[in-house]
Structure formats: C-alpha cells, structure tokens
Subunit: 337 residues, 3 copies
C-alpha cells in the first residue's frame, strides 16, 4: 500500500514540510530507508543520522526538523506517529476464512463464517470463535472457551476450557491460557491438590507473548484488563488481576491473587509476590522483587548492577556482615558522643 | 454430585455442627457461596466475612466456629479438608477411552483400552500408555516412553524418547520432558555437544506446570520423586534429582546434577546452582540464588525487596563501595582503640 | 557401533596405553561402565573412582593416567575428547526421509528429498527445507522460512514466517523462533503496537533449548551467530545480536537491540538490559543483571548468595539504610580528623 504524506498528516494530526504528494510504502530505519520508505527520529541521539538518510520522508518533532532539510512529517510524538504509520502500511496479514481440512472442530462449537481455523487446530465442545478470528496451526481451544472478534492466535497456542478472550487480541506461539493454578494443601508430608475451578478472562486489545502462561483461578477468575501487553515467558498465577493498559516485560512472574493497577509497567525478570495490591501507574524496574503492596504511583526497584566479578565479590561478602557493621558503627557513634 | 455434611465428616474426620443432612454440590468462596456450596476459613483475617456468607456450610476450626452461627464442618485443618472436599466434589473430567481418528499411534505402541489418545497426538515406537491415561490434543510421546496409569497430559505436552512417567501424574500444556541437557565441551573457541544419553524418570502423583522443561540426563537419569509439584516455566537441568513431596514455584531454575531433598519448597524465580546437595525440609525464598550446598533444614534467602527507586538507587550505589566502607570502619575502630 | 581404541586415538589425537585393539561401544560414567564402555576423568576429584571402574577404557590426561593401571586413552583434554567420542558412538538417530501422511506441506514449499517431515507438521508457503533436515511432530514452519541442511527440529517447534535457520542446528521442543518483538508506543494511556517487520536469522551449528523464545526484529533482524548455544526457557528480544560461540544458560533474558560478543557465557537467570554492547569473551554469573555496556573481556557479577533467612533478613534490612550508614561513617571520619 502506498500512502501520501498529505494523507498521513491528515490521519495522524501532523503537518508536512516539503512535497506532501510523496507516497511512502513501508517504514524503515534511517540508514536502511529508500525513497519509498518513511523513517522517524524520536531520540536526539539519532538525529545525527538524519543528514545521511535516503528516506522519502522522516517523522520528526518541530525542533528536530530544524536540523533536517529533507521532506518531513512533523508531529508532537514521532514514536507514536511512527507506530500508527507502520500499522497502516503493514497491517496483519489478510487470510481467507474457512476451516482447514485437518482441523478438528467439535460439532457443537460455533465458528464464525469469517474466521479461519488452521491446520491441526482443535476446537472444543461449545467453544465460540468470533468474527474474523484467526486460529493458527496446532492451536487448542478448549470446551466452552470464547474467542472474541478479530483476535489472532499464532501457532500452537492453548486456550483451555471455559476461558474468555476479548476482541482484537494477539497470542503468540506457545502461550498457555487456563492451565491449573499452583494450589495445594499440605498434610505435613504430602501436597493435596485444590481443584482449580475458575477461568481466565482476558479483555480486548491484549497481546500475550510466546510461551507465556496464565493460570486459571482457583475459585473466581484470573483477569487481564483491556489493553494489557505481556511479553514472552511470563507467568501470571491464579486469581491475579492485571489492570488496563499495564505492560509486563519478558520473564516476569506475578504470584497468586495479586492485583496490579492500570498503566503499570513491570520490567523483565521482575517478580511480584502473592496477595499484594499494586496501585495504578507503578513502575517496577527489571529483576526487582516486590514483596509488599504498593499504594503510591511511582518507580520502585531492588535491582543490582553487574560489575567486575572480583570487585563484586568483595562487596557482596561485606553485605553478608552488614548487620554487624551497622552495630559497630553505632558503637563508635556512642563512644564519640 | 451432592454430598451430605454427614458424609464429608465421616470421610475427612470432622464433625458437623448444625444439620448434617445438608448436601453440598460445589466449593466456593465465602462471599460467592450459596446454599448448595461449601466454603472454608483457615486464616483468622477472613473470619470477618463469615457473618455475611450464604454458604450452605463452612469448614472451620473449633475455635473459628465459635464466631459463626451457621452450619459448620469442624476439622483440625480447614485448608486441607477443603482440598479434599473440593477434589471429591470436582473430580477431573471423565473421558471416554479410545484413540482419536487423527492421532498417530505407532503400531508397536501399547495403549491400554481404558486410555484416551486425543486429536493430533503422536505416540512413538514401543511407547506404553497405561490404564485410564489421558493424552490431550497435540501431545507427543516419544519412542519407548512409558506413561503410568491415570496420568493426564493436557494439550501439547512433549514426553521425549524413553522417559518414564509414574501414575496419577498431571502435566500441563506445553511442558517438555526429556529435552537434551545443556552439555558441551569447549575447544577454546567452539562448543562440542555431549550427547545426552540418560532419561527423565518421574514418580507418582507428580504435577508439572505449563511450559516447564525437564532435561534428560547426560549419562544416568534426571529423577523427580513421588509427590513433587512443579509450577509453570520451571527449568530442571540434566541429572537433577528432586526429592519426594518437594514443591517448586514458577520460573525457578535448578542447574545440572543438583540433588534436592524431600519436602523442600523453592520460591518463584529462585535459582539453585549445579552440583549442589540440598537437605530435606529446606525452604528457599522467592528470587534467591543458592550457590552452596545446604546441609541443614530451614529457611534460606538472598532476596531484596523493592523500595522507591530514588531511595534504592542511593543505597545500591553505596553497596558497590561496601568493601571500602568496611575498611574505613575498621580503620576508625583501630584509631579509637 | 564398536570402535577400537586405536581408531579413537587416531581420530582424536590421543595415545593408547594398554591394548589398543579393545573396542568400545558406548560412553558411561566410571561407576556404571562395563568392559564395552569408555569413561573419562577430567577433574582430579573424580580420580578416586578410577580404581574401582570396570570400564573397558578411560580417557585421561597423562598425569591422571599415572594413578590408573587399566587401559587408557591419553589426551590433553579428556572432557573435549569425551564429547567427540560420545558423538561418534552415539550419533543422532538416523531417520528415513519422506513426508508423514498427516503433515501439511504447502505445494509451493521446497522440501529436499532427503528430509523428513513428521506427523502433524505444517510447512508454509514457499518455505525451504534443506537436505537431511528432520522436522519433528507438530512443528510449524512459516511462510518463506528456510531451514538449512542437517538441521533438526524436535517436536512442536515454531519457526515463524521468513526466518532463516542455518545448517546443523538443533531446536528442542517448544522453541519459538520469530514471534513478534515487544514493541509499542504509548499515547499516555494506551499502547500502540509497532509492527515487527524483521526476521530471525540463525547461523550454523546453533542449539536452541526447549521453550526458548527468539523474537523477530522490529525493523532489521535478530541475529544469532554460528555455534551459539542457548539453553531452555531463554528470552532473546527483538534485534538482539548474539556473537559466535556464545553460550547462554537457562532462564536468561536479553532485552531488545543488545549486541553480545563472541565466546561469551551468560549464567542461568541472568539478564541483560536493552541497547547495550557486550564485548567478546565476557562472562556473566548466574542471576546477575547487566545494565551497562561492557567494553572489556572478563567476569561480571551482581549475584547474592542465599544464607539462613534469619541472618539474611537482618543484613538486607541494613542494606535499605546503607546510604544513611555511609553518611554517618563520613561524619565520624570528619570528626576524627
């Protein structure tokens, strides 16, 4: 698809400096872009690359445009504008509706005529597959599960029995939605399983990364709000609730029954303990462990930074005696008083 | 299924206070429960919810029952009793035995007449599928693998060649049992693979979470004891041995050849280095790294707790100079002597 | 296969002490080995087991051979020699080429006559499957993807559209190559997806562990160099570049656009932040977080070691006041001057 800069400016509230009749077909990086491509600069440190670009146009702020002589689409937020332009120029691949001959669809399932059920997919008893849904190869949609309109499941996704998925969602390969929560009672020696009777209920416009797992609720549901973005290899435990538009980076883990607010970000490999309440607009840095509820918006951290191992070892060794050091310090202060 | 309180009391060594003829059909939370539901209280802080519940009955300790006027099933351990009641009322879904027409079962495989092989499952050469086994959609059971009676594999589980799975186990979607261990020798530049010739041998009553991976032994086997519970996204490396009734939470990783004792618990995102020996009844807190063998039962930790990032950064920065601080402290002590 | 010690010595630059006509068929550990097995000792601490072994031969250094009376294959690096001997004696399982009747191969795909496409595998539009490639059960190879000669995909691997895989690679079950990177722009409230338009390009002799995920580039590619070894449950984000012969242990995560050098090792559960450059020959210890670029070869760490929880809690509590402690220390020094 080719779109003129005039059209892009109209759609995304920008203005064109230069020839607004230029049409672009693809997005590209500054260094790789050619005359039919549109690039962007949102960070000053990349502005140096501007002079050398062969891009047909560049998305820029007013300020950065002053450093550039070429054709520009000027907007307040180039990064956001770029996302929208890229989505317009590179929409998800179109597909023909239908059911692949190797798919196994239960006769009681309801599959929209505009949906696609891919090869070797399995659709369970009374499952509901909405309009324009794409079910990739090897996916398994359990009994009574519901998949909202325009949602896409890439290859080998599991949506377990009775889970509810909203519209416009995207699930990457290997994601597992609705596995049992990790719930047991102990008799002193052995663990006795507590049947996990709830569901996973996922809102609209949610993206779930490859091999991420979301457990069903024990009683009641695990709930993922509208607009939530989950990266790869994340664990969401039973009865967690993730608020709208929260984003969680790869390898993070959220323990059971924790409630996360809206618009939060959780860094990669971060962990949040169970039964906590995290306020809206909380940001957790990578690899930090949150063990207490957080009532106020803001940034929270417990991460350490790698340094040369020899130096680190000396510092870390002292950490294991820090309580003693603190006592010695207090004693000196006492003496000096 | 409806079961009377009298029957529950008989089965689970409790006593009924109130009408023992009341029948319950489901478990529920205190706030969601209706007259055909049974709820429980094991933690004092939930006792406040008791007065408002519409539950047909509540499982309680003798002490907590004093705060409640309704029908009660009184036991020593309400949480454990609840697990048992829930399992009785909500057994795993029954299935009809057979082999789905799309499954690919090697003619040399032995499949019990009471087992179910789901759609698109693949059963290898001389594999053995025991009585009442459930093999879900898209599972792959390798050559010579053995699956014990009543074990259930949810969708898309891999049990690789020659692995041995006990009875009454449950594997969640995406679990991989028997992938190669990570074993190489280096020639200074390149890595040379060491063929991984062992198996994974899993005992009875083991549960394995979604997308968890257990590598086969290099030589000899990786061994998971009876009653072990593994959450989602856990890595168990080659030749690890996990003792009976140990439970490991999500995203934990156990490195090669480590031996973990019985009845241990490993917190989420915790790591245990390779070639260690961990005693029975050891408990590792979430996100802690264990780098030395542990000879004594007890709780072990190295986890830090997230605090406001601004404050944390100041403290963490000092940590990188802690050795120097310790030396300065010692110098002052010397001076004051 | 049985191979004489003379033949092994010739192939792997060793010398035989004892009967070089002895033939061995398998590798084994010292304690499990019998007369048709070959074992090895590379670590002095295992040398004590030598006297009791029934192995037909043992691979040893010259020095260790002095402590052993039996038949020995003497080499400079017994561990490396063992890897080579094991690979010779235990090659990957041979397979008959062909396409399983349940596989779904797009008519435009190019599949070498010597390749195997397993049951329920799906091969996309214009995909290219090279000579002697093994595609396991339930794998999905996307449109336009290329799989180089002799590469093996175990069960249920996803290679997404247009990804390029080199020769002699090995992918374990559940690995996902080419899922979308985690790229969004925010409008203050909601996240807007940035289409992920690049590929994953993987070199030769790469091994990828079970359930590991490698995201496609946003623009441009994610690149994994020749000889890279990735363990299980690793996350490699979009546009990362991993240099030749680097090895990464399980549960590690590499954030977007980071460039890792050659011959590096990254420990289990370690994390590397985005947009960093890590030099060649850098070694990161387990569970460490790298937040800055590393320009010099060497070992780097930020990992803490679990200790008894009671003791740890006291030390960790002090860490949250370390900045204040440092100020008090400075004040005392001032006073004493």
């Amino acid at each position: 698809m080719a779109v003129t800069l005039a059209e892009l400016a109209r759609r995304f509230q920008g203005k064109v400096r230069g020839d607004s009749g230029i049409a672009v077909e693809r997005v590209a990086t500054l260094d790789a872009a050619g005359p039919r491509d549109i690039a962007y600069v949102s960070d000053r440190k990349y502005a140096a690359l501007l002079s050398g670009t062969a891009a047909g146009a560049v998305i820029l702020t007013e300020a950065d445009a002053r450093q550039y002589n070429g054709t520009a689409l000027i907007v307040d937020d180039p990064h956001l504008c770029f996302a929208r332009v890229a989505t317009l120029l590179h929409p998800p691949r179109a597909f023909n509706p239908g059911v692949h001959v190797t798919a196994v669809v239960d006769p009681t399932a309801s599959v929209a005529k505009t949906a696609w059920i891919g090869p070797h997919a399995v659709i369970g008893h009374r499952a509901v597959i909405g309009d324009d849904v794409f079910i990739g190869a090897g996916c398994v949609v359990g009994d009574g599960a519901t998949i909202g309109a325009r949602t896409r499941l890439m290859a080998r996704v599991t949506i377990d029995d009775h889970c509810v998925i909203g519209e416009n969602c995207l699930f990457h390969s290997g994601a597992v939605i609705g596995s049992d929560g990790f719930g047991y009672a102990r008799d002193g020696e052995r663990w006795h399983k507590i049947p996990q009777l709830g569901r996973v209920v996922i809102g609209h416009n949610v993206e779930v990364g490859a091999n991420t797992t979301i457990d069903r609720g024990a009683m009641g549901d695990t709930v993922i709000g509208d607009g939530v973005k989950l990266d790869n290899l994340i664990q969401i435990a039973h009865n967690v609730r993730v608020g709208e538009n929260t984003a969680i980076a790869a390898c993070a883990g959220i323990a059971g029954s924790t409630v996360i607010g809206k618009r939060c970000t959780v860094g990669g490999q971060a962990g949040i303990s169970g039964h906590l309440i995290i306020a809206d607009d909380v940001h957790i840095t990578a690899a930090s462990l949150v063990t207490n509820s957080i009532a106020e918006a803001g940034h929270y951290s417990a991460s350490l930074k790698a340094e040369p191992a020899e130096k680190w070892r000396r510092n870390a060794a002292r950490l294991h005696h820090l309580d003693e050091m603190a006592r010695r310090l207090a004693k000196i202060e006492q003496k000096l008083k």
